[in-house]
């Protein structure tokens, strides 16, 4: 039997699990593992410039591929620096395994150099965590970590590996169980929906007069887009997507009403509010979706399909809870529909008439307040939505879109329709500024042949711009579109609207020269000063394929994102522009 050291077991286990990209940063606590990494020809390591960057890159890689993203960092500060990335992945249910070095077991608890209680610090933001006290724990725990991260409701898992467990001098037999044979008596996620509940749900779907599909990240995670498409088109059901599900239903489809929620479209929010049946698939009734829960969709009954039982009836009481994988449950639902159909239980005349009435109402919403920004344009200044529209054209609507957090994120979500899942990557739950650029690098490394566009702001970009060095070192060409308003735009929008215009610390009067910055990292920097330059500069940017292009676009500092739900109201209560409200 093959004899390996703990450090070698780490690398071999990752290889056996099919890990081809590892995002990390070496340090004292993981030196043995980095030494063993030199022997690997299967794993490509990406050396980041700050561990937070590694965690977001692995996250972007995971979102773009559906595979588990993998991170390797040292103990102490290396470990604490990935906390924001772990929390980001946890909030959005992204599969990720984070390997952290730890001081030797003999030193744990002694306040040793670069010692932190990583399991303790990360506990509330991981799906699970392991401490490998012995080298022989390593193959089992890393396998379990991948199994847990990628099954059920996905999420990040931390594996903490003390330095003595990695000892290169001590070798042990390497004899792991295959991933397919891993089982844990305490962990068996339910994937198949309860038959009786599926039946009830099916009846409600065929009887509803004003049904709506409210889809979330679970549709992406369970690869259920095609089935959602079929269900929607079979009964002409309108579809609204959360930020996490953008692209899971084609944005240009006639049944798509776009994003719902705080900055959702008027049609999406009004359709939710007026529906009589909400079919929630892998979505969790987040407060950024529902607005005031007590006023939430008063006439709607709710079917909620989610793999996590604790997401069901957590925020909003639902009528038919179905615990299961969205993909599997949609198969069950289809079968149940066929059954009802063969038994003559579907009154297609009535359904058609109901649907026509429902769409008449919805089309009224669409016409009353289509998505528009013209009313918010300051003459002579560039509106962020215009930038997104032009980037859409320049990228032929076919890019993987990654965003940071703030106004630009909402403009991208509203004005860059995506047709396929895993092509809109954004920190939804945690709202992590600084996420976008490293995540874009991760997505590009996963998909070298796809165009990857990162929409960011001057605020967000400055939180992780050091990763330009990764673009230089590994030749990762992404497009960074900085919507530069010399402000923290979303903070300012709230201050203007709810703090009597008192702009506390939301203006940045010292913004660096992003063009020179890009150049200093050997990349291309371009600037757009006004609207007349926009399309030409973007055309130039999108003609460059061998380098990262940072496009610094000087935009209106006073633009606002509309629609915007009115706090405390229902989904139907929205500000529609600076002067108009529902």
């Amino acid at each position: 039997m093959e004899m390996l050291s703990g450090a070698q077991m780490v690398i071999r286990t990752l290889e056996d699990l099919g890990v081809d990209k590892l995002f990390g940063y070496p340090g004292g606590g993981v030196l043995h593992i980095y030494d063993a990494l030199l022997e690997s020809s299967k794993i490509k390591h990406i050396l980041v410039r700050h561990e937070q960057g590694a965690s977001h890159m692995a996250d972007g890689y995971a979102r773009a591929t559906g595979k588990v993203g993998c991170v390797l960092v040292t103990s102490g500060p290396g470990a604490t620096n990935v906390i924001t990335g772990i929390a980001t992945a946890y909030a959005d249910s992204i599969p990720m395994v984070v390997l952290t070095g730890q001081v030797a077991t003999t030193l744990i608890g002694s306040d040793a150099f670069q010692e932190v209680d990583m399991l303790g610090i990360s506990r509330p933001i991981v799906k699970h965590s392991f401490l490998c006290k012995k080298a022989t724990d390593i193959p089992e725990y890393i396998r379990k970590a991948f199994y847990i991260a990628s099954t059920g409701r996905p999420g990040p898992v931390v594996v903490d590996i003390p330095k003595d467990a990695q000892n290169p001098q001590l070798k042990f037999p390497y004899n792991p169980v295959p991933l397919s044979e891993i089982s844990m008596r305490s962990y068996n996620p339910t994937t198949v929906g309860h038959r009786g509940q599926v039946k009830r749900a099916t009846r409600m779907v065929v009887e509803a007069k004003r049904p709506i599909l409210y889809i979330g990240g679970g549709v992406v995670a369970s690869e259920a887009s095609a089935k959602v498409y079929d269900l929607a088109h079979r009964f002409n059901i309108p579809v609204v997507t959360t930020l996490m599900a953008i692209g899971a239903f084609p944005g240009s489809d006639e049944l798509s009403l776009g994003m719902l929620g705080m900055h959702g479209t008027y049609a999406a929010n009004m359709a939710m509010h007026n529906s009589d049946l909400i079919i929630a698939l892998g979505a969790r009734f987040d407060d950024r979706v529902t607005n005031n829960i007590s006023k939430f969709c008063p006439e709607a009954r709710i079917i909620h399909v989610d793999i996590d039982p604790s997401s069901i009836s957590k925020c909003v009481e639902v009528d038919v809870p179905i615990v299961g994988n969205v993909n599997t449950v949609l198969d069950q639902l289809n079968e149940a529909i066929r059954e009802i159909e063969t038994n003559g239980g579907i009154d297609s005349q009535k359904m058609k008439a109901d649907s026509e009435g429902w769409w008449k109402l919805i089309n009224g919403f669409r016409q009353a307040h289509p998505l528009e920004y013209a009313s918010d344009v300051t003459p002579g200044l560039l509106h962020p939505a215009k930038v997104v529209e032009e980037v859409y054209k320049a990228s032929k609507g076919d890019a993987i879109v990654v965003t940071d957090v703030g106004q630009h994120q909402m403009f991208a979500a509203l004005y860059y329709p995506l047709e396929k899942p895993r092509r809109f990557l954004s920190s939804g739950g945690l709202g992590t500024m600084g996420y976008g650029f490293p995540a874009a690098i991760g997505a590009k490394i996963a998909n070298p042949d796809s165009e990857v566009v990162c929409f960011t702001g001057d605020g967000s970009f400055q939180m992780n711009l050091q990763e330009l060095a990764v673009c230089l070192q590994y030749n990762v060409p992404v497009k960074v579109i900085i919507i530069n308003n010399r402000s923290l735009g979303m903070v300012k929008q709230w201050q203007m609207m709810f703090y009597n215009g008192r702009q506390s610390e939301s203006y940045m009067d010292a913004v660096p020269d992003f063009v020179k910055l890009a150049e200093s990292y050997g990349q291309v920097g371009l600037r757009v000063n006004n609207e007349s330059e926009l399309s030409d500069v973007l055309a130039k940017a999108f003609s460059i394929h061998d380098k990262t292009v940072v496009v610094d676009i000087i935009a209106d500092p006073d633009s606002r994102v509309y629609p915007m739900q009115i706090g405390g109201g229902s989904m139907a209560d929205m500000f529609l522009s600076k002067t108009e409200r529902t």
């Binding site: 509330p124 401490l131 844990m184 305490s186 039982p309």
Partner: protein, 165 residues
């Protein structure tokens, strides 16, 4: 309303801190918590007493179940169950009258005197939380309490129902 949640979980380092962390992280309160290994020493059995409404206990149960180490969770208070708690009470009994009084109260509650000095009696009482509360009220009216310690509740279902892996 009082809920007594019984949890069967892996007897592993970190499992307890995950449970306790969950309660503080999600703003649930814990009135008492007891934990010890079962007849299978790879498993621990925990009893958590919490006061909350039914919606909240549903969330607590679901969140506990979501922890990877947890095998089984149920609310004992939903059906017939036995709950027991142990209390050790050290009281000042420095006269013959007081000692007699302590002895008779402790007999009523089936308590035992487990330690004594010329001035102090230590009484062990086992029962439901309510019984212990009643004992405490009675004894505190008779003598000065020096200190008490309670184990927290451990509970088990009546009849066939059981919490097994």
């Amino acid at each position: 309303m009082k809920h007594i949640i019984s949890v069967l979980l892996e007897n592993e380092a970190g499992a307890l801190s995950r449970v306790v962390g969950l309660f503080s992280q999600r703003g649930f309160n814990i009135e008492s918590l007891t934990v010890a290994p079962t007849e299978d020493d790879t498993l621990s059995r925990m009893t958590i007493v919490t006061c909350c409404d039914d919606d909240e206990v549903e969330q607590i149960t679901k969140q506990l179940h979501k922890l990877i180490d947890v095998l089984k969770v149920f609310d004992l208070a939903d059906s017939g169950h036995i709950e027991r708690e142990i209390m050790l009470a050290k009281v000042r009994a420095n006269t013959r009258d007081l000692r007699d009084e302590v002895k008779s109260i402790s007999d009523i509650f089936h308590g035992q005197i487990v330690d004594l000095t010329p001035d102090l009696y230590t009484i062990q009482v086992i029962g439901s939380s309510d019984e212990l509360n009643n004992f405490l009220t009675a004894i505190s009216q008779a003598v000065d309490i020096v200190e008490i310690i309670r184990s927290g509740v451990c509970g088990i279902s009546q009849g066939e129902r059981s919490l097994r892996p």
